[in-house]
Every structure is written in structure tokens, then in C-alpha cells.
Symmetry: C2
Subunit: 410 residues, 2 copies
Amino acid sequence: MVPSEIRALFAVASRPEVVSLAGGMPYVSALPLDEFGGMVGDLIARNGAQALQYASAQGDPRLREQICEVMALEGVQACADDVVVTVGAQQALDLITRIFVNPGDVVLAEGPSYVGALGTFASYEAHVVHVAMDENGLIPEALEDTLARLRREGRTVKFLYTVPTFQNPAGVTLSADRRTRLLELAAEYDILVVEDNPYGLLGFEGEPMRALRADDSERVIYLGTFSKTIASGLRVGWALAPHAVRAKLVLAAESAVLCHSSFSQLAVREYLSTQPWREQIKEFRQLYRERRDAMLDALETLMPEGCSWTRPAGGFFVWLTLPDGLDAKAMAPRAIAERVAYVPGTGFYADGNGRRDMRISYCYPEPDRIREGVRRLAGVIEGELRTRDTFGGVGHRGSSGVDTPGPEVV
Amino acid sequence: MVPSEIRALFAVASRPEVVSLAGGMPYVSALPLDEFGGMVGDLIARNGAQALQYASAQGDPRLREQICEVMALEGVQACADDVVVTVGAQQALDLITRIFVNPGDVVLAEGPSYVGALGTFASYEAHVVHVAMDENGLIPEALEDTLARLRREGRTVKFLYTVPTFQNPAGVTLSADRRTRLLELAAEYDILVVEDNPYGLLGFEGEPMRALRADDSERVIYLGTFSKTIASGLRVGWALAPHAVRAKLVLAAESAVLCHSSFSQLAVREYLSTQPWREQIKEFRQLYRERRDAMLDALETLMPEGCSWTRPAGGFFVWLTLPDGLDAKAMAPRAIAERVAYVPGTGFYADGNGRRDMRISYCYPEPDRIREGVRRLAGVIEGELRTRDTFGGVGHRGSSGVDTPGPEVV
């Protein structure tokens, strides 16, 4: 296991003078907290004997039915018996890796990919091979080339891990025709697909994208969470898996935590039963769209020439690439000194790539703070460019930051 | 991983006509549910932005301080920085096993031992070696013999897992002088001790026992939980570990679940800050003592000759040994038919022992139901004894139940 950059983020994000574009925290203050509190209070008073007691390892049966109703919004037809409730989607990812991966097995993932997934894969000694993306998500030809090469090399590929919609960290979305092709390749090369979809319902335009799982129930394991659509502090996620995998997941979950919290599960069940959750998701979408717009506008206005970035249609994240010769990791301490935080791109690669890249997120700060953060970031980048142009490159300075603990690993 | 007997228990325990002496569920209905609900409702309304947000991987800092105050009741002096909050003590056990155990390594455990621990050890392919117990807990001479034998055999012993106080499943408690000897042996053979102490504050007489961790902070990893002293549905447990182990535990926890639920953690924090938790524990002790008395009285009055059982001074469980020639696992379906459930002893051994034994728990049913359950159980045992005396042994019938799924694995 490698020291986590996420923990360091929490420390930085909590310093009030810093505009943090680093964290992926949802803006839970947008929830009607009085109503939520009243709902939970009533639940305990009325049904505390269940809400405060052990639960089954698979998760509350009624909640698993509601989870199927939520997934139906993305075209997924599923049976509650194939759902396992987990401690966030992170636990589902951990258990799936535990079940499938032996040390040295290959796991495919987009490059860049979710930092928490890479940490889990590393902890089971998986060998992560990245597959290139562009603005339409993972590139099928790159996937096919990679699969063919690994087959020639006799490597065992256990699964493809993908965040197809409003990807973390890149903010891009896999197009519909690529989804079809991805599933064809998975079948041709006989690999599982782990579809991690925390942001699927947080699109800014039109209807939700159709999930990969909607078109393949035998080869796709779908991971979902209420962390972004209700509240991350409840830690209620789930896996929807083919039946044989589901049975193993339940045993693994039981071994890992005995059972999930009834308290959290029943709070979600109650929320979905009694509160206008679809309207609340619309409010979240509106809120995040305004913040996305604030960030893209500020980037357009303020960023020096040579920077490029993605334009997310949903979710929380923009992926920004610095001009040639700049190093996002080496620059991070100087950004902190200028009171703006981001996550250097190297954290999202298992292979050392991403030095020119960073993730900047718009989910948590208010629009004015986002603009201020981008302004500060643009100033830092301009300073780096002046240094580069004066001294002919800052790459060497950058490398000194690699092994030094502290703010630069944010 | 093996199919779990715990899950089957939940199914049986929920059938109203069955008196379940099987489950280890605390009687959470004894909590003041209205007050608990009001407290949680206020917490969300007032501090929902934190209670519904991601937490740190190590756990809430104030809660970790409170955990140290709770452990001080057992003589433990600890610093909040060495505490990691986990999803029940089960997760702590899982993470410790993940960190320390390679396939084939030896883990020592009392015989019998907690079924959830054995499941976790099996999932990491540990080789469990049991150490004998008597009415004063683990026998130091047996531990020394086992350690010496394993050393001669060149086996790697990673740790001793022990539930020293009001043990699950045997209900016995390690005496003070044996605690000293156990720590001496651990030092002599250079092994870690994992002290699992869910029931330590639920003694029926006098002051809490001094924890093993109170006398050795370098070699003992202490696991605690609020599942029995507050509510199991919150899934808030913890590990107190030497500093180097603690750092690894935080990384492992982050990889496994990202972070624990703020919602649960802050509910516990609030409960410990605002509610009379010491008095509530006294009420739990009084309640469980009455139930223990009801069970021991009924056993004394009703059990046929040849049965023996332990007399717990705290906790939830009695360990009952059947007369020679009887088989608790084979008998289980007949007990279910007579509307009483228990856990056959084999589930608490990794080596097939325990066929004459069973765990019967008094934590959840009310005293009249406990007496009725023991009455039914005595009737079943009497029937088995008549069969044995007529046909000269029921061992062969028993063996047919081993591999059959269904109620007999309860």
C-alpha cells in the first residue's frame, strides 16, 4: 500500500485560507438538514429496535429493492437479490479485488483513473495497465491493442475497471457507440467489466446515460453509491453482480465487516421512501452545473496559453494539462503557498504518468471561490512559465518533490 | 471462505415460534429510543454538514479521545492518535489479518473461539491452532506447549487471538494471574496478542477486569466496539495498536472502505457527550444478569444428567456440553423442530472439534422465553439420550448432517 494523497487532501481542504479544488466532497449542505434530522429522529424513535441492531450481510431487503429502482433510471433491469449493500462503493471495489485478483494479475483501468481504486488494486498487488482516453472516454482501439498485447504476453487480465460517466478524475464520458464496442471486446477477450458509476445521475443536460450494465448483465459488475446523490457520510454503496459473484461478495462482506450499519441503511431507505429525492438530485445537478460553469468560464478567461482542460457534462471534476515543461506535482507546494490546492495528476496513474496534469474539482467551493481559486492557480502557472522561459525548463526542480512528504503530495 | 453459520442464524432467529438461543444480538430495545432519536435528529439539524460528509480514514478525533476514556475503565492508558475507528471490531480483525497474515501462517486462538474471527482467518488462509481453555480461560501451560511445539516445527506464529473476558462462545474469563503469564509467554516467544474485548464492561459483579493491553502497550492490539454497550447497528468499533501498526491500519482501512460513516461516528460521539452512558451500561448489566440467572436456573432444574455448562460472570453466552455419545450438530434440526435454536459447537472450531458442544445465549430473549427455550432444549436432549440408550449411540446419525445445508448449520 502507498501513502494516500486523499488523506493529505482533507488536511489542506480544511484550512480556510486555501481554496481547495482538490477534494471530491459533495456539497451536502444543500440537503434540507432540518427535514433530514427530523426524519432520522422519527425513524429511531419508531423503529430503533431495527435501526440500531445488526443487519444481514447482504443488506436491507427493502433498500436493495429501492436501489434497483434507482438503477432503472440508467436503463438497468435488476433483481434485489443480486444487490449487495456495501460501505460505500469503495468496499465493493475492495471485495471484488479480493475475490478476483491474485498478486501479479492485470487489472485494466483508464489512464487516469480513480485514486481510491488504484490504492485498492495496489494493496492486492494487482498490476494496473492503463488504457488511453480522449474527450469521449476510453478509446476502444487502445483497449483492443492492450488486450491483444497482454494475450500475446500470456498475462491474466482479471477485469477492466472503468468509470464511464463523468469520470473521476478526467470528467469525460464514454460515448454510446464506444460502450457497445467496449462490451464486444470484453466478450471477445472474456474479461469482466467493473463499472463504477458514482456520478451517473449528476449530468447537467438531458437524461441519464445508459449504464454498461443495462446491456450486459453477465459480464458487468455495477458499483453504485448514495454518497453523491444523498450524503457521503452515510457510506451506503452497493454492487450489482452476476449471481455467482454476488454470493461470493456476501461472504466476503461478512468476513470483512460482519454487516453494514442498519442505522445508515435505514436512513437511506427512509429518505428514498419519504423525501423528494428525485427533486433533490435535480437541485444537486443545478448546483454543480453552476459551479462547473464558473470553473470553465474562469479557466477560459484566466488560464495562460498552452493549458488545456476537459469540459465535463456532469459530475465533479475537470482535468487540466499544463504547458509543456511544467510539472504539476512539483508546482503543488507553490500553489499551496498561493492558497490554492489541487490534486497532481500522478496520483491517478499507477505508472508515473500524469506529471503535466492535475485534477481540479468544482463540487465543494461556491462559485466565487472557484473563480478565485482558478485566478490563483493561473497566477502560479504563469510564474512557472516565466521560470521555464528564463531557465529553459523546470523539470529538474520538479523531480525533487517526488519523494518528499508534505503538501506536495496533495 | 466457508458458508457462514451466522447468516443462517438470523433467518431462524426471526421466526417468532422459535426461541432462539442462537444469536448474539444485544437487546437494543432497552435503550431510550425516543431520546436517542431526538439526539440524532438534533445532531443532523445542527451539524449535518459534518455528520453527512466524508470523514478521515482514522476516524473522528473527538470520538477517538472518548474511546480512550472508555478504555480507561479497564485500566488502559492510551493516546487518541493510536486509535483507529473501524466498521465494528470485525473490520479491525479483518485489517489486522490482512496486514500480518500470509497464507499458511499460524494464528493461535482459544478452542472454542469467535466464529467471525475464524471466518476472517480462513479467508486469508491462516492456519488456526486452538489452545485449550477451562473455566478460568485459556490455559497458560497449553499455550506454552503449543508455542514450543510450533517453534520446533519451524512454523510462523503471527499472533494469538483471544477474547479474554466473558468469552464468545464459552462465557469464561481469563483469571488475573493467567493474564500475567500469557503476556510473559507472548514476550518470550515474540508474538503479538490481539485482545478482542466486546463484553468487558458487561460484567455482573464488581469492577471491570483489567485488560491485557493495560499491562503491555507494545505487544497487544486491543479491539473494542460500541456494539454491545451502545448499539450494534451503528457498527462503530476500534483498534488500539502500537504506533507502527496503527499507521498500517489507517492505510488498510482507507483501501477497504475509504472512511467510516460520519453519521454513525458522530451519533456515538454525541451519545457519549450528552447521554448518561455509564448508567445505561449499568442497566444493560442488570438486564443481562437477570437473563443469565434465568438461563442458569433453568439449566440446573431441567437439564438431564451428563450435561455440563459454563457459568459466565458477564457477557452473553453459556457453553453447554452434551452427554457422551450425543452430537450437537446432528441434533440441531430436531431442536428446530421443537422450536428452539442454538449454535452447534463445531462452528467455533477450525479443526472439527466441538461436536458435543453448543453455544446458548441469553442476551436477546426475555427471561420467560429463555426458560421455555431451555425446557424445549432439555426435552430434545432427553429424546436423544433415549435413542442413544436404545440403539447404543447416535454418532452415526450425526455424521449425516455435516455436509447438508439447511437448519442444521445454524
